[in-house]
Amino acid sequence: MSGLIKSLVSFFVVAFTLFFGESTKAPAQEINTIYNTAYPSVIRVAIRAYNNPSGPILWVQTVGFQEYCSDVLANEWIPSWNPEALRAGAIAVKMFAWYHSLHPVTASGWIYDVDNTTNYQEFKYQSGTYQTDLAVRDTWRMAYTPANGEILPLNYRSGIPFNANWSFIGSNFMSQWGSEYWASTAKMSYLNILALFYRGDSIHMI
């Protein structure tokens, strides 16, 4: 008798698993890595009036991804800064944008990846300079990620002018003024500057 009950229980367990097992399991969320995700060809930029973070969205501009990075770097880093600081900035700007192109938002009836203000990164179409365009091109084949290659934003803030910005070291926030300080004063390379601010990440060629 107990054998029959066990058999029936086993039958129902197997049947339940076969019919409902897959659907009750939460779908595995595949993470976006540099190994399974290509650069976007374009990025959607919400244009806010006067580059003001609180300004109304006037339109959404679809811009080539590399062009977007060039037209951000000139506004986020000062074009006359040390080339190593600009290269560090170019990688941060690109990783930040890449992440957000994979996580679009909807607001005020618009769908976009980033806006043109410091809500994300300051963007002005056609503002790229020779020096900043060069830094973007020099680092275009490089990504800066954790060991598993996950595409994550490299965050940054202004920091204190003409200062080492010690409080940013190892914080996973790069100081823009700090990058210039370490490049100019300590003659550090862009890879060392990135390692200084972003703990645990490293460069990958793509």
């Binding site: 244009i47 006067y50 580059n51 006037l58 339109w59 501009q61 811009v63 000139a74 506004n75 986020e76 000062i78 410091t118 300051e122 002005k124 179409y125 056609q126 503002s127 300079t129 965050n155 803030r157 202004s158 920091g159 204190i160 002018p161 940013f168 914080s171 926030f173 100081s175 823009q176 003024w177």
Partner: protein, 181 residues
Amino acid sequence: MQSPWKTAFITTGVFWIFSAMPAYAENQTPTINANVEFRVSSPDLKKINGARVLVISDNGTIMANGLTNSEGIWDTKLQVTQDPRFSNIREMGTVTAIVFAQGFNEEVVFEVPVYPNSIQPVSLVPIQPGKRNEPVKWLGNLHRHDIGRMVDRYANETGLAKQPGVSGTFGNAAWSPSIKR
């Protein structure tokens, strides 16, 4: 032989000129010679050929005007006086630009920065049927870091105190309206 009156007159004149020179030099604002590249486009990223750019100096006169090329670019050399608001930051002047283009509303760009190799992008708004189609105003391409340093300078001069940091933010705290004790 010179008369004593003539000698005294010349001596006084020479003395007056030399004594006035330092004050004259102090009142002279430094001049900046630089080129500015205007890059004119539409919201759909088309570069606008044949747009006319007028440059208005800080005394209100038209100091230059020209047309953009097929790349939407007009490059001009300007001689401007240093903008004292940015004198501790960089040698930079500021001008106003007005841009006209066929099929677009006029655009006035205030505070266009002038320093060696400065760039001023201008995105024009198309004329649309049924809309008001008035001139559009925009701000020049002043760099965020220059703005931040200008704010620091005037806040320091006024003796303002910083606001306490807000949790969840990282970086510099904003200035407060309170004077430091």
